[in-house]
Symmetry: C2
Subunit: 204 residues, 2 copies
């Protein structure tokens, strides 16, 4: 992924990606030019093309990967340890907090749409992110099952997929409306569904 012979080169490349991510968050991909990125990162045009020979698209893809990595990182350590109801709620709070802080803007969504579904790389990044995310959720549900907190008959993968969809949709809606109600509803209802599926009453 990081192709740069010298340490200095790698540092510059990283600086470009991080700076570009900042600018893109602020202005959106539609209104961000290479000159904006150049200005922000204190680099020159030739450097941009030196590290991303294929041009803007390649740079955007690198930023997309950068952002994708952050998505799961920002949910840690909660996402990796979903073995009790308390931990699930801590994760829930972390997700809400993360996206409320991020505000009305979706780095990945924008980048993905710009680079387009045509791009082989863009789709791969998103697909892989979703795969990992869902894997974490499924692991969490299995941990609950191991601890006897949910019924063993529960379809783990389907439930994880539904929960992931809920979070994703909640975030999407929040981007559009500025309101986190749906995200919270999806998370709370999803967790409640897990509880209910255990045969316990829905109420806490």
């Amino acid at each position: 992924m990081t192709d740069a012979p010298t340490a200095k080169g790698r540092a510059t490349r990283a600086r470009i990606v991080e700076g570009a991510a900042e600018v893109l968050r602020e202005q959106g991909v539609a209104h961000t030019t290479l000159d904006d990125i150049r200005g922000r990162t204190g680099t020159s045009k030739s450097q941009l093309f030196h590290y991303f020979p294929a041009g803007k698209d390649e740079l955007l893809l690198a930023v997309a990967q950068f952002e994708a990595d952050r998505v799961l990182e920002d949910q840690q350590p909660h996402l990796g340890r979903l073995d009790s109801w308390e931990s699930w709620h801590r994760w829930r709070d972390a997700v809400v907090e993360r996206y409320e802080r991020q505000g009305d803007h979706c780095p990945l969504g924008t980048l993905f749409l710009q680079v387009g579904r045509s791009s082989p790389g863009a789709r791969a990044i998103v697909t892989e992110l979703m795969r990992q995310w869902q894997r974490h959720l499924a692991s969490g549900i299995r941990a609950l099952r191991t601890n006897g907190l949910v019924a063993s008959a529960l379809d783990v993968d389907r439930t994880a997929a539904a929960l992931l969809a809920g979070v994703q949709g909640g975030v999407t809606i929040m981007m559009s409306t500025g309101d986190s109600t749906h995200l919270k509803a999806a998370l709370d209802t999803g967790i409640e569904h897990l509880r209910t599926a255990a045969g316990e009453p829905a109420r806490t």
Copy 2:
């Protein structure tokens, strides 16, 4: 909304919007120029600006409204009559069918991102769509409750919000990965949750 004195004018305007929607679906907003739209709709540059004086953004906004209207229309008549489990399942199938047919592309999402959150109009369109969509779902849940099919203690609005988020996220994921698994999982789990909340067993 439709400002055109003569019938011919209105027809041309509509032709532009519909044609633009087609082109945008095929090429994505990022790679669509006014010339593409002009070519597809058999119009001239001056017509585009005659009917959309504010330029491209205004046209994109009109297309967004056009697409938003279709979203709910395509779910009818099922969405308007969610008063039994059968009707819910018919709706579920209609949604899946609609989005699988649409394929890996989100007219609204793209347009929204292009016009940007800065635009006052774009956000209004999406917000209103979500509001109406959720209202329909909530009505459906209330109908179930009236018919004694779900527990009266259920938080209708929150459940509707969660379901909407699930559908939205399922669609989003499908756009990115080309796989409708998550959409189906969200729908099925959401409906199952309604059933479970009624105190009935989760299984059909």
